[in-house]
């Protein structure tokens, strides 16, 4: 495996799951074998962006955690479903059943769970990249996902709450000696024009900035109706995601 990537943010609503889905597809379209896991255990939603119905999940991450299915029993191959021309994309969704969310929130699990998931997926499917879509904030589940990853991307808006929270997250990840980058998302268009913005954010947060994605009405209007990158491959949002995928794959 080339790497395990966790996509994270301090606050919700940063576009983390949108970026996860589109980045996973971009890496697949570049010819890689990719898997993505919805680790937003208390509020799963990645399946919606990937056009998967909850009822069509043969098994979920919850089933795997509690030993009700093996890894291949909960992995869904979305390559044909999404009509990907290159590479492949596999997906593990989390359950939206209230009783299962509640069960998972109350019970602990092994420290190496996410490493085990990555190990099992790699062993069974031989993936190049595994992407974890995590729950926002400084919570235990997310910290464990980050600890199990080779690279973390922190998605941040140009918002005071996000800036101060991302500064805190960056401090924590530095203390844990993790490799991470900031990804600026939904940047107001006039601010996105500022040539020094990436450098200024990098200096303020004391972390490198991997990319800057301006706010686009078209992405908002898309309303998570499938992956934007597949519907509008030539849009600047999509080409920016492809550039980020190319940068990651060059490492």
């Amino acid at each position: 495996m080339r790497g395990v990537i966790s996509i994270h943010s301090y606050r919700g609503g940063t576009g983390k799951s949108t970026i996860t889905a589109n980045l996973a597809i971009a890496l697949a379209q570049l010819g890689y074998r990719v898997a993505t896991v919805d680790l937003d255990l208390s509020s799963p939603g990645l399946h919606v962006i990937l056009n998967v119905n909850q009822s069509s999940l043969k098994g979920t991450l919850n089933d795997f955690i509690y030993g009700r299915c093996t890894i291949d029993g909960c992995v869904l191959d979305l390559t044909d479903h999404l009509g990907l021309a290159n590479g492949s994309l596999m997906f593990i969704g989390s359950s939206m059943k209230p009783e299962e969310i509640s069960q998972l929130m109350k019970r602990d699990y092994e420290e190496s769970l996410f490493k085990r998931i990555a190990f099992e997926i790699d062993r069974k499917f031989g993936v190049d990249y595994l992407i974890f879509d995590t729950h926002p904030g400084l919570v235990e589940d997310t910290l464990l996902a980050v600890l199990s990853s080779d690279l973390s991307l922190i998605v941040m808006r140009m918002d005071r709450q996000d800036i101060s929270g991302t500064f805190l997250l960056a401090k924590v990840l530095r203390r844990l000696n993790k490799v991470f980058y900031i990804l600026l998302n939904m940047v107001p268009p006039e601010m996105a024009q500022m040539p020094e913005l990436k450098e200024d954010v990098s200096n303020a947060i004391k972390a490198p900035v991997l990319g800057l994605i301006p706010f686009y009405d078209e992405v908002l209007s898309h309303r998570s109706k499938g992956a934007f990158i597949l519907r509008h491959p030539k849009h600047v949002f999509s080409t920016t995601i492809y550039d980020i995928a190319k940068t990651i794959s060059s490492w």
């Binding site: 092994e110 420290e111 190990f119 235990e140 464990l144 800036i163 101060s164 844990l176 200024d200 303020a204």
Partner: protein, 65 residues
Amino acid sequence: MDKVEEGSKGREFAANLLRGMEVDLGEIDDALSSFEAKLNSLEERISSLEERVRKLETSIKGEGR
């Protein structure tokens, strides 16, 4: 990829890690303030440049008449 390590009590482990971290909250406030100041100054520069462009456009239009 590392070999899977055995263990248990994942959330407890993560919570202990967080408990062991002391963060200077003043440092976060200072970082936010200095970044805000930088952004404000950039915005002022952009406004001033936009104003200069507007004046130049008006002046060019005036000469064209």
